[in-house]
Amino acid sequence: MRVKAKIKGDVVKVKCMAKHPMMTYDIAKKKTGSRDNANFITHWDGKVNGKTVFDASTSQFLSKNPIIKYEFKAAGFKKGDKLVMSWVDLKGKTKTKKATIK
C-alpha cells in the first residue's frame, strides 16, 4: 500500500493506493469455480493522532488495486503528523501503512 498526504491550505489531501486483486463473486466463480474464493477489501480507515479522519466501507466493485483520494480538515493537525491507513479484506487480512503529512 502506498499513501501520500499533503497539507494544502486548510485541508489535507490524501492519495491512497492499495495492492489487492479485489476479486468479485462473479470473477471468482468464473476463474476458480467457487463464489467463496472472492476476496475484496471491506473496510478502510485512516487515523491521525488517534482521531479518525477517514472511514469507508467498500464492496467488491472497487477497481483492482484500488486508488482512493480523499480530503480532511487540517484543523488540529500539522506537518509531520503521522497518518495511519489500514484496510481489512473479506478473509480477515489487514494491512497498515504509516505516512507523514507533508
Binding site: 462473479d26 479522519v53 469507508a56 483520494k69
Partner: protein, 150 residues
C-alpha cells in the same frame, strides 16, 4: 426472586445504554448487512437509511461520459453541505452498493475512487445530511468494455 430479576434487568439496560454511544464509528459492513446484498438503488438506500426519498441537489458526481475500461471507472463525488454518510451506488452490477464513506467532524465529503462497472449505467452519489434528509447526484455514462467478468 422478583427483586433479583428486576436488578438483572436494570443491569442489562444500563449495559446497553453505555455500549450504544461507544459505537460512534459505524462499520456499515457489520451494521447493515442487507445493504450490501440489495440489488436496486432504492433497496440499498432503504437498507442503509430506512428511506429512499431523495432530493436532487447539493451533490455532484463526475465521471467520463464514455469509459473505455469498465474495470476502472474514475468517479469524483463531492457534497457541499455537512453530512453524516456519503454513499456511492450504481445500477448495473449484481449488487448496487459500492462504497459508504462515513463522515465525522474531521472529514470532508469529497472523494474520488475507481470502480468496476459491468455495462453502461448510472452512478448515484447519495449524502445523508445532518438534517436526516437524503440528497442525490447522478451521472449516466457509457462503458465500452465491461469490467465485472475480469
Amino acid at each position: 426472586m422478583q427483586r433479583r430479576k428486576f436488578l438483572t434487568l436494570g443491569a442489562t439496560a444500563a449495559a446497553v445504554t453505555v455500549a450504544a454511544p461507544a459505537l460512534q464509528a459505524v462499520d456499515f459492513r457489520k451494521e447493515k448487512p442487507d445493504a450490501w446484498k440489495a440489488k436496486t438503488v432504492d433497496d440499498t438506500l432503504k437498507a442503509l437509511f430506512g428511506t429512499a426519498k431523495r432530493e436532487n441537489k447539493h451533490v455532484t458526481v463526475k465521471t467520463p461520459d464514455v469509459a473505455s475500461n469498465g474495470g476502472a471507472v474514475p468517479v469524483d463525488m463531492s457534497c457541499d453541505i455537512e453530512c453524516e454518510a456519503f454513499v456511492l451506488i450504481q445500477d448495473v452490477n449484481p449488487e448496487s452498493c459500492v462504497v459508504v464513506f462515513e463522515q465525522n467532524e474531521h472529514t470532508i465529503p469529497k472523494n474520488s475512487v475507481k470502480i468496476k462497472m459491468k455495462k453502461s449505467g448510472t452512478v448515484y452519489a447519495v449524502a445523508k445530511g445532518k438534517d436526516g434528509k437524503l440528497y442525490c447526484g447522478k451521472k449516466t455514462l457509457e462503458v465500452a468494455l465491461g469490467g465485472c467478468e475480469g
